[in-house]
């Protein structure tokens, strides 16, 4: 029983790490540009399929290195052409637009790569379990968690110490003043969007190695990321991090006792948080209204 529980907590943490990567990207875009990016799951899928396509030529490591930036460039183009005209308008429009984009991406991947799930081969070194007792901790899972930790650390470092990061954080609080101080806000939003999509692409590659690829996988990961943001507190990236891990573990543990309620528990957590602490665990006062 203890092992089963441990198994599911580990599982939950790994799934939670996925949610965190997705949710951080969503959260970045939401905070600075006030855009709910419904196509975020779509970008994850694109990242995964790019990795699948180039793996035969450059290997898994090459794909891991190349696919996320390629996804980010695609994101940059889409932001430039489709989303930029909508800044400053009712958020309804960017929501509808990205919603339509998600349709196009899902259908497009199905058209190009087929509806069948596609496996991505991972290096043999990562595929082995570490020991017989803890059969569920494969090298790949550890590697995934390590990658997520590195990505999150880099992101927080970027936001904390670089000029771009400081501008992004400032823009989140008061974009008008940032613009008045001579920062090119358009550029800032584009770069910020690209960073968010980079994270989606990275989670796509990592997810591809663990779960295989399907055109619909992005939509399944989108909703937990929303909940991670709401639970953690809108406006706080640390909150998003915490929220993602929390709901991951909670659904992992619930899977032991009530397998069919493992999704429901996330929503229950969200309802409780909204009741007791409407701004979310680490959300700042006033950010939610």
């Amino acid at each position: 029983m203890t092992q089963l529980l441990l198994f599911n907590v580990t599982n939950g943490l790994i799934i939670g790490a996925f949610y965190v990567l997705m949710a951080l990207g969503l959260s970045l875009i939401l905070n600075l540009s006030n855009v709910i990016n419904f196509a975020h799951g779509g970008f994850l899928v694109i990242g995964g399929y790019i990795a699948y396509t180039i793996t035969p030529y450059v290997g898994f490591w090459g794909a891991l290195l190349i696919a996320p930036p390629l996804t980010a460039i695609l994101g940059l183009i889409i932001e430039r052409v489709l989303i930029r005209p909508l800044y400053g308008r009712d958020p309804l429009y960017s929501l509808l637009l990205t919603f339509g984009l998600a349709f196009i991406v899902e259908d497009g991947t199905r058209f190009i790569w087929g509806a069948q799930g596609k496996p991505v081969t991972i290096p043999a070194i990562l595929a082995q379990p570490l020991s017989n007792e803890f059969f569920f901790i494969t090298g790949y899972r550890l590697f995934m968690v390590a990658m997520v930790i590195i990505a999150v650390a880099l992101l927080f470092g970027l936001l904390r110490y670089t000029r771009l990061g400081i501008r992004i954080r400032a823009g989140t609080l008061d974009l008008e003043t940032v613009a008045a101080m001579g920062v090119n806000v358009r550029m800032l939003r584009s770069l910020n969007f690209a960073v968010g999509i980079f994270l989606a692409g990275l989670s796509g590659v990592l997810a591809a190695g663990q779960l295989g690829l399907e055109p619909t996988m992005g939509t399944g990961l989108l909703m937990p990321s929303f909940i991670a943001i709401i639970v953690g507190g809108v406006g706080s990236l640390t909150g998003t991090l915490l929220g993602g891990l929390l709901i991951g573990v909670a659904s992992g543990v619930t899977a032991v006792y009530f397998p069919s309620a493992s999704e429901a528990v996330m929503y229950v957590m969200m309802a409780i948080v909204l009741l007791v602490r409407p701004r979310g665990l680490l959300g700042e006062e006033g950010m939610m209204t």
Binding site: I36, L92, L96, L101, F103, I104, I230, A264, P278, M288
Partner: protein, 319 residues
């Protein structure tokens, strides 16, 4: 409103109702069929209910399909387990959708803008998962089956809306007329004017002493009741309740219908629903990639016609 404007409105209103009343007569001439008209009417009612909140209170709910789907399941449960009565099933669906909306609305109304949208989506998904997972009761992925709408029994005579699609169309039209009349009445009342005031300038409304949260909650609840009834009608139309009717992508379709038709207008969502339903019906018959086309329609409407079909003709307002 000037006198000529008033006359124009009357003429338009008469035209809409004539078109709706005679739909079973003219639709087949254009290659349609009566059941398609019924679908347009039901989904149009749903889109108008969403727009009651979106267009007139200015609050973006992206999870309204949940209350639509709850209405459908409510009607289905009633017919299957409670009593084989069409009016009772409509009432059950409406109550289920409306009460769920009232309860969740109380949690949601303090959020605004994108955050309101996010929370409504997430809560909407709760019901999707319940319908999807609790298969012993809801039929799970296959949906709720094994019920059908019942003939209307008036004691002396009964109307067979089950096997005659034209009779059913008129039954739906009567329900539609009642609900739209209620909506129009609410929008003309002081309460409706307050909703519009909140949409135009929430801060000013607050300074005037209007309890904004309570108004939004009431508007949310009302629109969920309307939504529940539309969902119940949808279940009767198909004799089937589908879990995908609760999914947020269905909510997106409703919002799209409202925006495409013109969300600042009362009748716009009905027009949007008509275009959307007919287009989807046509596209899914000619291509398997209809999802892409619907997606492109979303992108095109947002970028090119943000004020919708009727919004283009109406007075200029900021989009």
């Amino acid at each position: 409103m000037s006198r000529s404007e008033g006359t124009l409105k009357l003429v338009i209103l008469a035209a809409i109702w004539t078109a709706l009343l005679l739909a079973p007569n003219w639709m087949p001439l254009l290659g349609g069929y009566t059941a398609l008209g019924t679908r347009v009417l039901v989904l149009g009612l749903a889109a108008m209910s969403v727009n009651f909140l979106l267009g007139f209170t200015g609050v973006l709910s992206f999870g309204h399909a949940a209350y639509f789907g709850l209405g459908a399941y409510g009607a289905g449960f009633c017919l299957k387990f409670l009593a084989p009565s069409t009016p009772l099933s409509l009432l059950c669906g409406m109550l289920l959708g409306g009460i769920a909306g009232a309860l969740l609305g109380a949690l949601i109304v303090r959020r605004r803008g994108v955050y309101f949208a996010m929370v409504t989506i997430a809560f909407g998904q709760v019901f999707y998962y319940i319908a999807f997972r609790w298969s012993s009761v809801t039929g799970g992925d296959d949906g709720l089956r094994g019920f059908s709408r019942q003939p209307l029994d008036f004691g002396l005579f009964s109307i067979d809306i089950l096997s005659n699609p034209t009779y059913f169309y008129y039954f739906v039209l009567v329900c539609f007329a009642l609900i739209t009349a209620v909506m129009a009445f609410i929008l003309r009342s002081p309460f409706g004017r307050t909703m519009i005031a909140i949409r135009e300038n929430e801060r000013r409304a607050r300074f005037l002493g209007i309890p904004v949260e309570r108004h939004i909650w009431i508007a949310f609840t009302l629109s969920c009741f309307f939504m529940g009834l539309a969902g119940a009608l949808y279940a009767l139309t198909n004799n089937f309740a589908d879990p995908r009717g609760l999914h947020y992508s269905q909510s997106g379709d409703f919002v799209m219908m409202a925006v495409m038709g013109g969300m600042r207008t009362f009748w716009g969502p009905l027009l949007g629903a008509a275009v959307f339903v007919v287009l989807q019906d046509y596209l899914s018959s000619i291509t398997i990639n209809w999802m892409s086309f619907v997606g492109m329609l979303f992108v095109a409407v947002v970028l090119l016609f943000p004020r919708g079909i009727l919004g283009v003709f109406g007075p200029r307002a900021k989009a």
